[in-house]
Symmetry: C2
């Protein structure tokens, strides 16, 4: 186990009817003027928007709606301008990971003179000041509701970059599983895959002696597999949705990944798919991750065999690790198919001629991945494997 | 899963050589005058005391040493007086759970007019103000390094009570596994049992649909069992000690117990053993907990059978839950014996004639336990079972 520092100050307010606690949380922080950010659609049609507004009595509310999946700088720049002109005390993001990530970029951009994209491009600076941000999560997936990360996009140049820092942890996040009952099957599945892959990006590691972290992650993936299947049949079961939502937070609030090397190469590769084709992040990951596993497991298949045994119940008895590991990948892909995820680039309608460009972009800052350093050729090969069903 | 609120602001600084980060952490908080609290003995003989003092250059340091296991009001009152007279900016507790718990009571007592014991006795008030507290942990066990709990004792009346509140979460805790290499076998074992039972007090619950929390706890107990055995043979192995220390924090920082009913009756009962005989907390728990399990599992043995299967590899195939559950308890007691823990009241040199008094004291505020409400007679019966090897 490696040395680590962990601190996560976000207050999680979880459960049925918790939107009704919004007013007291905001009021306790003395908020007078607030920027309310939303996506495009369901928040207004579902009745949530009215519920939220009814909690904001006596507070001056400014609004920015229409933050899209893979949140774009166009929206972020508008939000930053609103904040700068109006000196808001808090940003309240109501939506999924994209609305929250876009709002984090607004929160950080609102207190600096330069454009937040320039900071993201420098890739070294932590965000240490920002307008306080709070969330009401409507789609469990990214874990952004309890971490200091944000992923933002530039549509004109087809680029996607990350921000990180202590100032963009939400001050509080309201998680009501009932708000997720109406998420369509496809997006439920994409969110669930995102959660599973977040956990695995922190699981496959060369850091020795992390037995507790291994078991926490394996437990999380098993829970996700069981509930990702259940939710397709009974989308409005409270406990199923609650467990999926809670897993989403646990998978990416940094706790299961402390003291070890992570990978995240598949996320880097997927960002190029999303940047070029605007595909849902979870859909891109479903295609890439099993192929990343197959590509990197050859050298040291032991951990992949452990994963196959403990999560997918593959027998190890008398078999080589590599065979066990490969059967694990087959079972994971079968599960992805079962829950309706794409498994090839064709399924995502991605032109294979774009592979060299995407590989080059994914590695433009140098080799990627913690478990295995991948150069441009490695990424090309993985993407070529993604072309095979 | 039940509704919950979770917030844990403690900064964990974990790993080899992390005591060297003490100065920058204290300095960043502008501390000018500090109360350094320690136990009696090993901190000074191990060289840690000098290491800590060398990090406190330029800071006025007051001292309180000799805080004992099951920290007593005598020490706490002295600490409170020092703080009140000298207006300290921070308390730095260097030691195990007792030093830290005692220091939490000092931190809370220092900012109020009445005695902190009176607040503990009222059992309803959260501690919302206190002198900021930081820790250097030397014995993993209670999890107090990352929670807002404290257990304190009054030796003259043989009483033990709890405090809880947001103000007594440590602002930071330094956890260096190397500091634990020299803990004697017996105290290593008691600490490890305490960690396991903390996890289980939150595991056995009637709250339905907590699959992730179940698996997190099972993974933690398996990791504890493996490493509690390893450490006896190789007490100075870094990874073993690191995993035990990390498990101690995970077991009781509230994260694995959110959204569900807990039990804690065994802790209540054990507090009476410690209050009357000053036995180590982990030693008392090793005797009580398996008997609590046997006593309460009859009505609803399913969860106990799950525990037996997943943690102790007891086969469930074709067997009744109650039989599987009972075999799990047998295996747990065998493990306790193997790592040198006491298993009966005789092993603790406790007079069985004190059972009625201890049972009465444990239930003096009413029935105890979340999983199963135990009255005085129930507790007497459990303690009588503790008399059988």
């Amino acid at each position: 186990m490696n040395n680590f520092v962990f601190q996560n100050p976000t207050k999680i307010i979880f459960g049925k009817g918790t939107v009704s606690q919004l007013f007291s949380e905001i009021n306790a922080r003395g908020v007078k003027r607030l920027l309310l950010t939303t996506g495009s659609g369901s928040v207004k049609t579902s009745g949530l928007y009215e519920k939220v507004c009814s909690q904001l009595t006596g507070i001056e509310v400014l609004e920015l709606s229409g933050i899209t999946p893979n949140p774009k700088m166009e929206s972020i720049d508008i939000g930053v301008n609103i904040c700068k002109k109006n000196k808001v005390d808090m940003i309240l993001a109501v939506g999924g990971g994209s609305v929250i990530d876009g709002s984090k970029a607004i929160a950080a951009g609102a207190v600096i003179d330069e454009n937040i994209w320039d900071i993201a491009e420098r890739r070294i600076e932590e965000i240490v000041k920002a307008v306080p941000l709070a969330c009401i999560l409507t789609l469990p997936a990214t874990g952004t509701e309890m971490n200091g990360n944000s992923v933002i996009s530039k549509w004109d140049t087809r680029e996607k970059l990350s921000l990180y820092g202590p100032a963009i942890y939400p001050v509080f996040s309201i998680l009501d599983p009932e708000l997720t009952f109406s998420i369509p099957k496809t997006h439920t599945t994409y969110g669930n895959i995102d959660i599973i892959i977040h956990a695995l990006e922190q699981y496959f590691t060369h850091t020795p002696a992390t037995p507790l972290l291994d078991r926490l992650t394996e437990g999380l993936v098993i829970t996700m597999v069981e509930n990702s299947i259940k939710v397709l049949d009974v989308p409005a079961d409270y406990d199923t949705r609650a467990n999926l939502m809670f897993c989403g937070t646990v998978a990416n609030n940094h706790w299961i990944g402390v003291g070890k090397e992570h990978d995240w190469a598949s996320h880097n590769i997927e960002h190029e798919l999303s940047a070029l084709y605007d595909v849902p992040h979870g859909a891109g990951l479903a295609v890439i991750y099993p192929n990343w596993m197959k590509y990197v497991m050859q050298k040291d298949p032991g951990k992949f065999a452990q994963f196959a045994e403990r999560v997918w119940s593959v027998s190890r008895s008398g078999r080589k690790d590599i065979d066990v590991a490969q059967e694990g990948v087959v079972k994971m892909r079968e599960f992805f198919k079962r829950i309706g995820a794409p498994v090839t680039l064709q399924d995502l309608e991605i032109d294979v001629n774009d592979i060299p460009h995407m590989a080059k972009q994914a590695t433009r800052f140098g080799p990627i991945g913690g478990y295995c350093k991948l150069n441009t050729t490695d990424v090309e090969r993985i993407l070529e494997m993604c072309n095979i069903s």
